[in-house]
Amino acid sequence: MTAALAIPAPVPPPASRLGRIAWQWRHNPKLELWLAWYTIVVFYNVFGIVFFVVTRTKPPPKAWWGLPRIVEWFAENRLGLLTGFGTIFFMGAFATASTALIVYSIRRMSVSPAFAWSYRLLYSLAAVPGMLLTCIALVAGAMRLDRDPRLLGLLYDMGFLSFSGTMGIFLVGSVVWAVAILLDRNGVLPKWFGYFNICNALTEVVVATCCIVKEGPFAWNGVIAFYINMVVFGIYTGVFITYLKQMIEHEEPERDYLPNRLALL
């Protein structure tokens, strides 16, 4: 078993593209981490395409629309909602790779495992209120356009308000990650990114207004509750994906790895 965990002697990669992929699969000592990282990249790309292009739910339609316009919106976007959210129903849970890699980053820091565990538990069900409930409500609307318009209006509200259903998870989760980064002495992630986590947490405070107002900058489609929030979240996501990549690149297998069986909890 110990031999299986040892770093294999370097074998030169072959010249062909397929040969190089096979070489990575056989010999890359960081393969597990790279699989998780590429899963994150694929997930966020599909997530972006589904929400912004296929279903047209981002940027969101107006919170102040009347029932006839809401019914029309469901009719216009029916196929996109059903196919796009079908894709999320199929692969949405691959987002757990993101949580897993972030938890791994915290475990490598010089802080208590309580931080990693808190983060993991906070995010383990985030997809249900924050993403899947949105998709379920809007799919229920799209699948039966002859439904009573008042019920379509209810599903519309449920869909777009549920998208903010993870306010607390992102708020507390980002702070947990921030504190871990700021306390860490192993230099796993840069300190400024710790402060940026707090910035991300604050967007969840601003977005809360969408549960109260239907018009203006604080509505779910407003400049503050959606656009500024989305810009910060977009930059934050891009930055953390990049830093996780750098963390993997800078790791030295013999020195930095948490062996599977020794990483208690």
């Binding site: 299986a4 079908g86 129903f89 383990s124 229920a140 699948m143 599977n260």
Partner: protein, 244 residues
């Protein structure tokens, strides 16, 4: 405490958890047969009045309620079994715990979504005098959640398959065919994600792909994984016994 004593504590009680699987499976099968909407799956093409009539038919109503209460009690009983699989992933010759983190991240999702679907069914059945359109709405939400929410099951099968393929040691925890089997199950679950696109045919929630293939795949996965996890735990205990 010696090292062998410590490791035997690690597997202590695991066989009991594993044997809970066939016991709770009996409750699942019983509840499945009792729910009148499963044995002959409810067609999504029913009108609101037909859906309400189905729910409040005196022959159906108690069976709907009791079967969903039993599912609510025992649906989440899958979690200890999934945790046993997670522990076997920890025994694999991986350099990092990342794949077990990914797998554990998926564990609670499937049973939680099943629990939400179960509640939607119970809410739909609660008040016979309610507007049939509302009964139909909750029936739709229940079926959409039950049928199409396969992502946690798909992801956990794919992460498990990757973990098995990367378990590079002389005597791997699971044989490679278990990895192939998990990918096959993930593929069999995929069409159900798109069930709301069709009100009839194989893709609809009562269709061959979305109901029988998907639920058959889940049942087969639980059965096969139950056997291979049982074998792995017994082998682990023999190894620990020999080491002691």
């Amino acid at each position: 405490m010696t090292e062998s004593e410590q490791s035997s504590v690690g597997t202590s009680g695991e066989l009991l958890l594993l044997w809970s699987l066939p016991v709770v499976s009996l409750f699942w099968i019983g509840a499945f047969l009792a729910f009148p909407g499963f044995v002959q799956p409810m067609p999504p093409g029913l009108s609101a009045q037909e859906v309400a009539a189905f729910y409040f038919d005196p022959a159906n109503l108690p069976r709907i309620r009791y079967s969903m209460i039993v599912f609510n009690w025992f649906g989440v009983a899958l979690i200890p079994f999934l945790m046993l699989i997670a522990l076997q992933i920890r025994r694999m010759a991986h350099r990092t715990p990342i794949l077990s983190y990914c797998f554990i991240g998926c564990i609670a999702g499937g049973p939680t979504l099943f629990c939400i679907a179960d509640l939607f069914w119970l809410i739909a059945a609660f008040r016979p005098e309610r507007d049939p359109a509302l009964v139909q709405l909750f029936n739709d939400m229940a079926w959409i959640t039950f049928t199409s929410q396969v992502s946690f099951l798909v992801a956990q099968s794919v992460f498990l398959a990757m973990a098995i393929y990367l378990d590079r040691q002389g005597r791997p925890v699971f044989a490679r065919w278990v990895g192939h089997f998990n990918l096959l199950i993930a593929a069999a679950l995929a069409p159900a994600a798109f069930a709301p696109m069709a009100l009839e045919g194989p893709l609809a929630w009562d269709g061959v792909l979305s109901f029988w293939v998907k639920n058959g795949a889940i049942a087969l996965w639980i059965g096969v994984m139950g056997l291979v996890v049982g074998q792995a735990i017994l082998r682990q205990r023999r190894q620990e016994g020999a080491a002691a």
